[in-house]
Symmetry: C2
Subunit: 358 residues, 2 copies
């Protein structure tokens, strides 16, 4: 007999199949087990489509469900949303036991489905691999708890922390493999953000192979023009400018110029920016540079996750550009700590990932 | 039956037992095998003591050696040095087959013992795991081939490549575990080197738990004085100063003031420095900072190996000190590549190690 933990891990794997595709919904996988055998599985593929537990239940034969156990990484939904509430479907299915990794983070519904399942006589176990389940849906949990997008910062640097030479050139610090990996990573999130200097210097496409990603440019004085590569593939583009900027330039369709509070020394009001983006339905933000833009999000403690690609190189030059650049004076004991730092090899480069602890 | 490779790897493990203790001699391990069974083993422990193959032969019973195979990571010695030549000892021992990982790098003797063994009728196999064997004795190989010390650079930095805050404070970027590991690493090498600014700022001891290490300070204007911690434990200290510096200060015994060519813009003549150190019997040099000193060795392409401790932290501050700082302008395509980069965890920190490819 395999353990409950085994099946919960299986729900994680199923859930991840839809990574980058379910926003604003969470990633959910469901496994139905009877007498030590998986009789049905499902995952939530995309917003508007059936929930994971509904998929798994519908795929099983009615008689088989009788007395079975449902494993699921997130508490089933309680409300009528785009689909009927799953909690009722589970109760009427014949399932006798439900193992849930983590409660719904939405304070309005958290725990309600669990209570209803128990009142209906089902055995319910909650909290198995809770931390992993929260990490799996870190975007969704951030959204529900703080009503703002999950903010990811990514940069590629040398071993000595430089993202470009003294002329600002960064082509190509990391290898082709790392750059492809980075593009796929971009596709997990709803939007990519860069500062105007990165656009002017590198003229990036900011596309992802997996989906049309929203592009966000911080450009206080509207220096961008429609000839840049990022406008080429028809994605939605938001350009944030200072409040009183005159807008005379023409841009392709799906380009939106947004005015935002900007102070000469502090830059844009980033709290307001995130609120605005969340109201546009952007649940997660992938920030790719440059070092000043990255530094400003860090300085405001608005970074939830970091990805740092490290190339096996040393820049040597003291005038080369550092990866993170803020004006904030921090003493060595107050350097920002990164929790749960992991490292993996990507081709000849390395990738660190972790969570800032402000 | 275990493979030849297995026994050669065993010689590496034996050799490493004396790591840091054999200078100027190489690390050597020897294994004698008969009918698939190890009948004797040895390693070279310290200069003046018996060589690895001599130890292994003397530990075996005379009759047992008849028809056996000797495994050794380095070609046996040919000349009378501090001990009699091992090649003759092997020939008269009854050993029938010798497996050698790598030839002696000294051009005067390289291959001579192998030739003599073959002429005496022994079967000799050479070159198994040669690259690993050279790496094991990278210090010795550098010494023999270039007649200068093997130069190692070590620094401890944040993820974004900073070794200190804007005030120059670096206590403590990495954890206690990483710092202990670093001190043990120091003890593998013959001497530690820092610039005078590191002495003035951090007042380090520069000791190692495993041995009395020679300390080398680059101090053009003799700003150091005898009150600093590095003089406390009675190690040998070399202080390099500009040629015309007046020396009026008093220092403890075993302190040597050395005059060396110094140019205002270029600093000390580092090629000359290394030659001088090698003539003092220093076969390997462990450079620990600061960023300018490290940068100057890199700029002259005089670094053979790097150790970079990375703490799970981000400094953020653009005024914080970068780990490597040279005045050399390098474009992104010319950033210094690091070969064979490895990474390991040390406590909560990470340690990169690799070989610059100039």
């Amino acid at each position: 007999m395999l353990s409950d933990e085994y099946y919960i891990r299986r729900t994680f794997s199923l859930a991840k199949k839809a990574e980058g595709g379910t926003s604003p919904n969470p990633l959910v996988g469901a496994v139905i087990v009877k007498r030590g055998r998986i009789i049905s599985e499902g995952f939530h593929r995309r917003v508007g489509l059936a929930h994971a537990e509904a998929v798994a239940i519908s795929k099983a034969k009615r008689g088989d469900l009788e007395g079975s156990t449902l494993f699921i990484n997130l508490e089933p939904c309680f409300h009528w949303g785009r689909t009927p509430p799953c909690v009722d479907k589970i109760i009427s299915s014949g399932i006798k036991r439900v193992v849930i990794s983590v409660k719904d983070p939405n304070p309005l519904v958290s725990g309600k489905s669990i209570k209803k399942l128990r009142e209906a006589g089902l055995e319910v176990k909650v909290g198995l691999l809770r931390k992993e389940a929260e990490r799996l849906n870190e975007v969704f949990f951030k959204n529900m708890r703080e009503k703002r997008p999950f903010v990811v910062v990514k940069f590629a640097q040398t071993l000595d922390g430089k993202i470009a030479d003294r002329e600002g050139n960064s082509f190509w610090i990391t290898s082709y493999k790392a750059r492809s990996f980075s593009k796929r990573l971009r596709g997990i999130y709803d939007a990519v953000l860069v500062g105007i200097n990165t656009v002017l210097k590198d003229n990036p496409y900011l596309d992802s192979p997996s989906k049309k990603i929203t592009k966000i440019i911080l450009d206080p004085n509207l220096r961008i023009s429609s000839c840049f590569n990022l406008f080429k593939r028809g994605s939605r583009v938001f350009i944030f400018v200072k409040k009183k900027t005159k807008i005379k330039k023409k841009f392709p369709p799906h380009t939106f110029i947004e005015r935002l509070t900007y102070k000469e020394r502090e830059g844009f009001d980033l709290d307001e920016l995130l609120k605005r983006l969340y109201s546009f339905g952007i649940c997660s933000l992938f920030i790719e540079g440059g070092s000043y833009t990255i530094g400003s999000f860090f300085a405001k403690a608005l970074v939830d996750k970091v990805y740092i690609f490290v190339a096996p190189k040393i820049a040597l030059d003291k005038e080369a550009l550092s990866s993170v650049s803020s004006d904030r004076a921090l003493s060595v004991e107050n350097f920002l700590k990164i929790k749960d730092l992991k490292i993996e090899r990507v081709g000849r480069d390395f990738l660190f990932s972790g969570y800032p602890k402000f």
